[in-house]
């Protein structure tokens, strides 16, 4: 842990503080950012124990007694300083069958997706995820069970299960069932509490549990 004194400014973000430290106090400081406006999801760090996008977090909102503790995201290996290795996080999206798999080619007619249909509404509730890893860092189950796919990968799987164009529902539900998947979720809802996009991975995970349970009870698993 290193301590730095950084001058305060109006509307200063936590990312501004980190950038100031690197440019003026310690040029060796490693951190990751790109867009600075909450679109890319690369600047997530732990601020006073809570995972957040540093670019969208005002210092005024989080500072306590003129002090602030900034550390890398939890549940991910640290490469250096504030930079984590996101490989395992994204590998788990793959393990959760997180790729869209449609049956149609570009020569076929467009699939008609009714925006007001129940399936589409449920998928829409989860599709704005930008993969920042905040939910993954906030999740207790990831900390206890390193194989656990985590809220982001399961949320991704849920949006595809609810996508009428996707053809791999059964494989996907098989991939997300069990000890490393949706059934390990304890519904603590830390992911839902912390998601900067106000997505509820918990709701999607609960949906996956229901879908898998239905398949098992119907003997289709």
């Amino acid at each position: 842990m290193q301590e730095f004194e950084v001058p305060r400014h109006p509307s200063q973000t936590v990312l501004d503080v980190v950038t100031y430290i690197q440019r003026h106090l310690d040029p060796t400081l490693a951190y990751r950012f790109a867009c600075r406006v909450g679109m890319c999801g690369s600047c997530a760090m732990t601020v006073n124990g809570v995972p957040r996008w540093t670019c969208r977090t005002h210092v005024d909102k989080v500072i306590r007694n003129d002090r602030m503790e900034i550390s890398p995201l939890k549940n991910l290996p640290v490469i250096r300083d504030l930079v984590t290795d996101m490989r395992e996080f994204f590998d788990k999206w793959h393990r959760a069958e997180g790729e869209f798999s449609g049956a149609k080619s570009r020569r076929d007619e467009f699939e008609k997706v009714v925006p007001q249909s129940e399936n589409r509404k449920m998928a829409d509730a989860g599709i704005e995820c930008i993969g920042c890893g905040v939910c993954y860092a906030a999740c207790d189950v990831v900390a206890w069970n390193p194989d656990y796919l985590g809220p982001a990968a399961l949320n991704r799987a849920w949006t595809l299960v609810k996508d009428v164009r996707d053809e791999k529902t059964l494989e996907r539900l098989r991939a997300v069932a069990g000890d490393a998947g949706c059934h390990s979720c304890h519904t603590h809802m830390s992911c839902t509490e912390r998601c900067p996009k106000h997505i509820s991975p918990t709701a999607g995970i609960a949906g996956l549990k229901r879908e898998v349970a239905k398949l098992v009870l119907q003997g289709k698993f």
Binding site: V141, R174, A177, G178, D179, G181, S184, V212, F221
Partner: protein, 112 residues
């Protein structure tokens, strides 16, 4: 196959929890109601001996406990101690058997 087993265990724990919610509520309500005027051992046995409905209720209660507790403990052991695999499941099957045996022994002791 493993996914199916995990899912079946998950369903079993939820279903047994639903049964327990009713059983525990009925159990507590009955205790509070029954002891109001004071209750002797003879009075308790007088009500439970040969009472088929009572036997069925508490036998259900015991079975639900023997299903619910080991599955929950299985998760705790996995997450807190990192104990997974067949040895954990074997130990918990034994634990379930002990719960079932002790519970049914107690139920039958006041029924017969």
């Amino acid at each position: 196959m493993r996914e199916k087993t995990e899912t079946v265990l998950w369903i079993a724990q939820r279903a047994s929890a639903a049964v327990l919610a009713l059983c525990v509520a009925a159990h507590l309500a009955t205790i509070i109601y029954a002891v109001q005027g004071g209750l002797s051992a003879a009075e308790i046995l007088g009500r439970t001996r040969g009472n088929g409905a009572w036997l069925l209720f508490y036998a259900t209660f015991v079975v639900a406990v023997a299903i619910h507790a080991p599955i929950g403990l299985r998760t705790v052991l996995g997450e807190w101690l990192g104990w997974r695999g067949p040895s954990r499941d074997l130990a918990l099957a034994a634990f379930a058997a002990v719960l079932l045996w002790m519970g049914m022994r107690a139920v039958l002791a006041v029924f017969r």
